[in-house]
Symmetry: C2
Subunit: 197 residues, 2 copies
């Protein structure tokens, strides 16, 4: 008979900020005080939205997959010919990598895998991602000019590995951007099928 709860809306509003902070600082360096500051609320409020810091992190892991998958589906929204789908995603990834702090969250999570909950969240995320990549590669191949003797699931793992190292290269500036993009595209083509160069 009074004020309806808005916790749902508020968590949705704050979650992107939480993601951002975790991906900037990693899990351990991110303090609840810092999270509160960046969200422009008191710590208490965060603790009303999530039971503890770990829950905030788990929410971030889930969200990071969701948002990445969303971007992909936008890229493919105008239903290009399937053989271009892979190419488009590859192009997008080679240029915009790390935009969502995806990998930094993954890296920090990977050093917390002795926590069962975090492990499970990561496993689910990777499985979903692998599946997503698989279906795109499959579609691209089935339709025509992409050919390779590499099984689809293996090519998909290869692509995930490529995306990972490519992000590390970007993070550490091991190659200038252009060169990294070319590297990504070339190796991806080698994995997915089709001529290189």
């Amino acid at each position: 008979m009074a004020r309806p709860s808005q916790t749902e809306e508020q968590s949705k509003k704050l979650l992107p900020i939480v993601c951002e902070v975790f991906s900037e600082l990693g899990y351990r360096r991110t303090t609840t005080a810092e999270l509160a500051n960046r969200c422009d609320v008191r710590e208490n409020i965060l603790y009303r939205l999530w039971p503890d810091k770990k829950a905030m992190f788990l929410a971030a892991i889930d969200d990071i997959f969701r948002s990445r998958a969303e971007v992909w589906s936008e890229i493919l929204a105008d239903r290009p010919a399937p053989e271009q789908a892979v190419e488009r995603i590859v192009k997008y990834e080679s240029q915009h990598q790390g935009e969502f702090g995806f990998y930094r969250i993954v890296f920090t999570a990977l050093t917390e895998t002795d926590d069962e909950d975090i492990r499970v969240a990561l496993v689910n995320m990777y499985k979903s991602f692998h599946q997503l990549v698989c279906s795109q590669v499959e579609a691209g191949r089935g339709s025509g000019d992409l050919e390779s003797d590499l099984p689809v699931e293996m090519a998909a793992w290869g692509l995930l590995g490529l995306a990972t190292i490519s992000n590390i290269i970007r993070e550490l500036k091991l190659l200038p951007p252009r060169q990294r993009e070319r590297m990504f595209a070339t190796v991806a083509k080698c994995l997915v099928g089709g001529e290189s160069s």
Copy 2:
């Protein structure tokens, strides 16, 4: 005119243990107290060997590359035909991955890249590794039956990416060991040249 210092020997003796702890717990979760416990000394002694915790971590990063490179050179010690060198390393890596906690250290270091010293250590490590892989791939190709239109440096980055994702797969048990090994070998062949399967 008195007792000669043995700090050199002692750091050499303790460094592998330090590496182990950092790779188990990551940088932040590793406390100096835990390091001391595992090394079976008091914290003080660690601080006599290294000025601070970060220095211990940097030493670990350096050591981890050194020990990995050492293992590789042992594998290649009996000078196999160069075209088998890549194959051997690939086989070894596919089976023994993570034995030296290599990737866990890298992952935890990657979330600390806003520290200049750590960034530099990582950059050097990756450059050395890339070079090492390059020279092996090059040797393998130059000598004969491995062929590919993928430039050597790109193939090398691809391999490093493959090793990374393969280690994540192992860490998260995303694939059973055999399947992971086959995946590694197959994708590696695709990158390095030669028929797959």
